[in-house]
Amino acid sequence: MEHLVQAFGLVFEPYVLMVIGASALYGLFVGAIPGLTATMATALLVPVTFFMPPVPAVAAIVTATAMAIFSGDIPGALLRIPGTPASAAYCDEAYAMTQKGQAETVLGAGLVFSVIGGIFGTIVLVTAAPALADVALNFSSFEYFWLVLLGLTCAIFIASKNVLKAFVSLLIGLLIAAVGMENPAAFPRFSFDEPNLMGGISLIPMMVGLFAVSEVLRYVTSIERPLRLAQEKFGSIFKGQWALVRQYPVQTLRGSALGTLIGALPGAGADIAAWMSYAMSKKFSKQPEKFGTGHVEGVIESGAANNSALSGAWIPALVFGIPGDSITAIAIGVLYLKNMNPGPMIFIDNPQNIYAVFIVFFLANLMMLPLGVLAIKTYKQVLKVPRAVLMPLILLFCTVGAFAINNSAFDIGVMLAFGVLAFVMEENGFPVAPVILGAVLGRMLEENFVTSLIKADGHFVAFFNRPIAGVLALITVAVWISPLVILWWRRRVRAVTA
């Protein structure tokens, strides 16, 4: 209780509130501009949050991403271009509604159900995280080894279309983590006698490269078409929303629950949550034939899902230090820089900071209602910001930000290299998210593997002996062999029907 009071004190402080307000506007803006993603918003925030105390730093990331995921719906409905990948699943549906003259309804639904989904995810986070942390206190290197491996496994088997390409991305990430002396043997690997590489590749310049510089490259190489708004003036945004809440309670709950779950799985974030929820909504709908023609049901379910996924992703991030998506992967990098290492101990050592993060989640989602309306009503003006000016400014900001982490020009080179890498990878269909997961989790994986191996004295059976470790191992192996089982099943079915 005393910690909770402290937490309120940490959040309701003029400086922190100002940071939250500014990040909210920033998040709404970035999400609403096509081509700028919520992950990019986070990557660009990091160099600034680097200079803040932990609570405002995390608050800035939480607020900006929640806002960006909602405001990505606006260009989806008005331009038929998703503002962030998380709105792509229902972009066509939303645009169809606008064309039927229901822009207010679909934008309002995007807003209201984003808030509901976000709050649902936050409630799960607040209840599940401390309980899981209690369990995690008893974890040894064996459990952590399997947990990290399971996380990485989910990231490639569940969260991606092409398992092989995702696996290559993950291996590249793990290799990045292997650079430098930060390994159990403290032996410099792949540093090529370059002093800047002895401590490993700095995560922040790398992330800025992967998620921001690559977007700038994509913008300069694309052929820009003028953006034409389908509707410029709006009536009441909230009209009819209460009726929708009462009409679709099951869909709202299902979307929020699935979103939280997908978010909590490492590697899968808001965009995958939205796609899966939209598909689920259509499957269970009483009117599946209306999907795609401008029907609000799927927008409600997946709109709730992508915002709840954001909160869900923080569960494994805070409790185990295993990011649930690319955004929390960046956030974990920030927490490490702040010496606020995520893991179960954080709930015992710094409970007031954790509670403060929870409060920020609620605050951000509630602030979304008024600020979201503002974003919709002023969208015409937002679009007037010329992207040809914005992109060069973002590039310079990235450059200075990458420099600022270690005051080293070498990091600008790191940023550039990873920007080009991400650009080429995406052109060839290799997902970027597994790279960042591998880079963040590589050291943890190796450390726990080596520690466990030494403890086990070479007997590999010890990896399965403890009950929780055994269960985690079983699930991991099950996910690995699942594609083979599915393949075998399909062949059998085909053989029987033929």
Binding site: F51, A185, V220, T221, S222, V389, L393, T399, G413, L416
Partner: protein, 157 residues
């Protein structure tokens, strides 16, 4: 730039080979079975296996896709220039910012990119210098980042 699956696969196998070559001299930990070479070796093995699968898939399909497919934008001079400014411009910035200083490099990088993106000519120097000054103020004054002065050292504030 799109690479054909067999090119990707061969590249991955070669990369895996380079990793194996690089870790061959890593010391072993006295008394332990695992040294610093094990983890990179596992990664390299994974990359080699993935590479092999890519090559096998490509030969099975026997599709006549070219080894390297150039992107559409390669024929658009403005897009190529944009790509060049971002990559080579950043590289130059990274190499020269310590000697030339932020106030020389930043407006040049910004200005070049703004010009390539066809921002109105008279606004290019205004935005390039103005925005550099604002970013300098935020990071140098606000956050205490020692952005290099370079040539303008005597003017430093």
């Amino acid at each position: 730039m799109k690479f054909n699956d067999s090119v990707v696969g061969t590249g991955l196998i070669a990369f895996a080979g380079a990793i194996f070559w690089n870790v061959r001299g890593f010391p072993s930990m006295p008394g332990d079975q695992v040294g610093p070479a094990l983890f990179p070796q596992l990664i390299a093995a994974g990359l080699a296996i993935c590479g092999a699968i890519f090559v096998i898939q490509a030969t099975r399909r026997r599709a006549g896709t070219p080894w390297i497919e150039l992107p559409d934008w390669i024929r658009a001079p403005r897009q190529v220039a944009g790509f060049a400014v971002v990559t080579l411009g950043l590289l130059a910035y990274c190499l020269m910012v310590e000697t030339l200083g932020f106030f020389v490099c930043a407006p040049l990088l910004l200005g070049a990119l703004l010009a390539v993106l066809q921002v109105r000519a008279w606004t290019v120097p205004v935005i390039a210098i103005g925005a550099s000054a604002v970013i300098h103020f935020i990071f140098y004054k606000g956050l205490g980042v020692p952005l290099p002065w370079g040539l303008l050292q005597s003017w430093a504030w």
